[in-house]
């Protein structure tokens, strides 16, 4: 190890006081102190300074401190516990409740899906029917009087598009065209077709409606 300079030793005095130097350094510093009054004075001042610092009396902690700390600690522990309880406790109650809730949702969703499946074709068909099948104009009294049951049976069939809604008739060839009925005259004043006539056909089903007579406008009876 190279010889320690005056400055090196000056900087090592703090460690020297704590006996935190190596044996070699201890010897070198001791030799230097014997010959250097500056360093020995500095060491003396440092020693006195340390004595003053170490003479500081300890303060007593206040008697309430432990209680106050523990009150805050208990509060902290309660908060932790309640958070834990909110999430996980009591599992014995929460798990069955959650299971029942999930089952209820699944069953409800299944039934809703099923009912939607059943109602979908019937919900769409009337719209199509109403759009594609123009209602016949109301007939005059003469036409009604001249109407015979035979004529009713020979009513024009439904359009193929309508029939194709039912799978039973999907590949059936269209029936031979019925004898053309006399085209109804223009709507007479005071005669309005009754919409209540249609539900009959709906109730029987649209499959049967293909062969049913064409809707007949009824005369308003008032």
């Amino acid at each position: 190890m190279s010889a320690m300079t005056h400055d090196d030793i000056r900087h090592k005095l703090s460690e020297y006081l704590d006996n935190a130097v190596t044996a070699e350094e201890m010897t070198a510093i001791g030799d230097h102190l014997a010959s250097c009054t500056d360093c020995s004075d500095a060491l003396d001042e440092l020693r006195k300074t340390l004595a003053h610092v170490q003479s500081l009396e300890e303060v007593e902690s206040p008697p309430w401190l432990t209680q106050k700390i523990m009150a805050r600690v208990r509060e902290e522990a309660e908060q932790k516990k309640s958070l834990f309880q909110r999430i996980f406790y009591p599992l014995a109650v929460k798990l069955p409740l959650q299971t029942v809730a999930v089952l209820f949702l699944v069953v409800t969703a299944y039934y809703v899906y099923q009912s939607m499946d059943r109602t979908m074709p019937y919900r769409e068909a009337p719209k199509e029917y109403m759009q594609q099948e123009p209602l016949p104009a109301p007939r005059t009294e003469e036409e009604i009087g001249a109407d015979k049951p035979a004529d009713r049976s020979s009513a024009p069939p439904q359009t193929p598009e309508y029939k194709s809604l039912d799978m039973k008739y999907a590949y059936e060839p269209p029936p031979p065209p019925a004898p053309a009925e006399e085209a109804p005259s223009a709507a007479a004043p005071g005669r309005v077709m009754k919409r209540e006539a249609e539900p009959e056909a709906r109730v029987e089903g649209y499959a049967a409606a293909a062969k049913a007579p064409a809707p007949v406008a009824e005369e308003e009876t008032h």
Binding site: E45, L50, L56, E58, V59
Partner: protein, 238 residues
């Protein structure tokens, strides 16, 4: 006589804890005999470790025993760093609550006392920053504000006139030493308090402050030199 370790025998919390054990506490028996306690902040590691393990398992009386064993030392460290007793008590409370909050993270790599000391040093640092910020926002004298011509308040910072120094000289050495410690920069103050007031070893100070041992020595040298100059200035002589 000065008790430098903070583990005095008359520790009510420890006695309360022993009573709890004797009266049928449900946890494993933890012996807290005086024989287990050595000298300095390093002592009672075994008892600390057992108490820490119990506290980590949710045993609040065990944590209370830890508080009782360390609170005096923690308050003293906080007091010497902040320079204010009330602040020190606040810092000590915050440090213990923080220690409890983070107790699960304590793996025993360092001693509990070292870990706790690093917490209180951090809390004290934060407190000093708050105090400094508060003071910087209150530059005017509140009791006797002096309005200048343009209506602004004239700053009234702490006086450094010779009369203040004379008043300082009239105080006792204890007060002068504390004032000098409070005048040190934080890193030097912490090193000085831990070494010369609390008697920590260099390596332990390094662990607390998370610096190398060489840095600890360097800081300590500069802190002691500054203390010497400060005391000579305040007292005229050492």
């Amino acid at each position: 006589m000065k008790v430098r370790d903070g583990f005095s025998d008359a520790n009510p919390a420890r006695f309360r804890y022993n009573e709890f054990r004797m009266s049928g506490g449900t946890n494993k028996a933890i012996q807290l005999s005086n024989d287990q306690e050595g000298d300095g902040p390093v002592r009672s590691t075994d008892a600390d470790a057992q108490l820490v393990a119990a506290a980590q398992a949710g045993d609040l009386p065990a944590f209370e025993a830890l508080v009782g064993r360390h609170e005096k030392r923690i308050v003293n460290i906080a007091y010497r760093i902040t320079g204010d007793y009330d602040d020190a008590c606040e810092v000590a409370q915050d440090a213990f609550v923080s220690a409890f909050r983070n107790l699960k993270k304590f793996r025993g790599d360092a001693r509990f006392s070292t870990w706790l000391t690093s917490i209180v040093i951090n809390q004290a640092r934060n407190r000093l920053k708050q105090v400094r910020t508060r003071r910087s926002r209150e530059p005017v004298s509140l009791d006797d504000p002096i309005a200048t011509e343009d209506g602004a308040m004239m700053p009234d910072p702490p006086s450094s006139s010779p009369s203040a120094l004379e008043r300082m000289e009239q105080r006792d050495m204890q007060r002068a030493v504390q004032d000098c410690i409070s005048g040190l920069e934080a890193e030097f103050r912490e090193a000085l308090v831990l070494r010369d007031v609390q008697g920590y070893a260099y390596d332990e100070i390094g662990k607390v402050l998370k610096v190398r041992e060489g840095t600890v020595k360097s800081r300590l040298f500069r802190a002691r030199e500054a203390m010497k100059d400060c005391l000579k200035k305040l007292r005229g002589t050492l």
